[in-house]
Subunit: 217 residues, 2 copies
DNA sequence: CCCTTTCAATACGCCACCGTATGTAGACTC
DNA sequence: GAGTCTACATACGGTGGCGTATTGAAAGGG
């Protein structure tokens, strides 16, 4: 697992160690926590070390964001089990979003700084990836283009919103069985019907969610 | 519309002017933008003025948050038309959430600082209010206690997520008719069935799809 | 007219962080 | 065992924001 460059590690630091420390700092204190001297203190060195590895603060930020993007893409790719049904893929994505508290905070903190030109491209690429992944899953569920995109955005927004609620008002989140029910409700609502593996290939305007009889009015 | 204390206003400032300026700054630059000297510059004065109206920066923050809370409660109360159906109330809440870009950014920025002890109480009270409002609406739609609460949280999270997407990756948001369809999809999905309110205008091309039926039917 | 009150300008010390310049201990090189 | 490269430490100047202390000016009140 590598020393991870904790303060007691006596081996010398690498640029990646700084980037990881920066991500940890972002998850806790937001983008402004990427400050050279505090990070150096946390790593048990002085900024003399930092300016050997990086040209300036922004270079560290870019390195951290690249590391973040790689990690995000990895977790996304790890969800792509080719044998899995679209339903399973969306569900596992949903559960991944609720898994690591740190990663959630990290995502939110970075996204919140999307007005920063250094950050913008990363956030856009990542968001696009997630939404595209969802989009494809919904297409595989039989939804036509625009509809699939709408469902994908809907699901993505719900993911993000849950991250937020968990971060900002965790006491609002139900616990235990109630939480399970909550998640199940969202999953059932966001993935209507076709839990079955085979993707329909219909070209209709709206979800071809056939086997639902109309409400008898 | 009151002078709003723009830089050219020659009348002397009030504490409320500072609080409003602080809210504007938060909406644009986050909590850290509540900085005495920059705000003073924006108002066309020096911090000599500020420290006459406030004891310190945190006092301004509290004043701004109180102003924010009042405004939020007002917009919430303005949604409570006693004659409106629960359906209409949720819909109008949903549309209110998509209305003012500034207010959205404001909410997100403040919520993101919920770890700050000064901010925490405000965010919790406000979130609780919104969720309770949704909760009651869902109860009025016939959902039992835990279920109504789950739907309320679900809807709230979706609201927040949409705010985020609009702030961080606005180009992901559909536009024009596609956006309308997107909103309609969310509304139809989040408010299942009981569109009893006669004000519900459904000029939709296909019959109202029943999103889900109780399991084990 | 003076005097108080209100609102603001100016000047100061303090701290945190950025970036640079330079020093330096250890390893490695031959 | 002198040179060189690596990975830091130290010291310095600069910037931006906080808070305080002091001064100033205009308005209204007696």
């Amino acid at each position: 697992m590598k020393p991870t460059a904790t303060a007691d590690s006596r081996t010398s630091l690498s640029a990646d160690d700084w980037a990881e420390a920066a991500l940890d700092a972002i998850a806790v204190g937001g983008m402004d926590a990427v400050a050279v001297e505090p990070l150096a203190r946390g790593l048990g060195v002085t900024k003399g070390s930092f300016y050997w590895h990086f040209q300036n603060r922004d270079a560290l930020l870019r390195a951290a964001l690249q590391l973040w993007e790689r990690q995000q893409v990895d977790t996304l790719l790890s969800r792509i089990d080719p044998a899995a049904s679209p339903y399973e893929r969306i569900v596992s994505l949903f559960k991944a979003a609720n898994m690591s508290v740190r990663d959630g905070r990290l995502y939110l903190a970075i996204a919140a700084a999307a007005d920063n030109p250094t950050v913008q491209a990363f956030v856009q690429r990542l968001s696009e990836r997630w939404i595209s992944y969802l989009d494809e899953s919904y297409r595989a569920l039989g939804y036509a283009g625009p509809r699939a995109r709408q469902w994908a955005l809907f699901a993505f927004a719900t993911f993000m919103g849950n991250l937020q609620v968990r971060r900002d008002t965790p006491q609002m989140m139900p616990e235990g069985q109630d939480f399970s029910d909550y998640v199940k409700l969202m999953i059932k609502t966001l993935i209507p019907r076709e839990a079955r593996g085979q993707g329909a290939e219909e070209e209709d305007d709206h979800p071809h969610v056939v086997p639902m009889r109309r409400p008898g009015s």
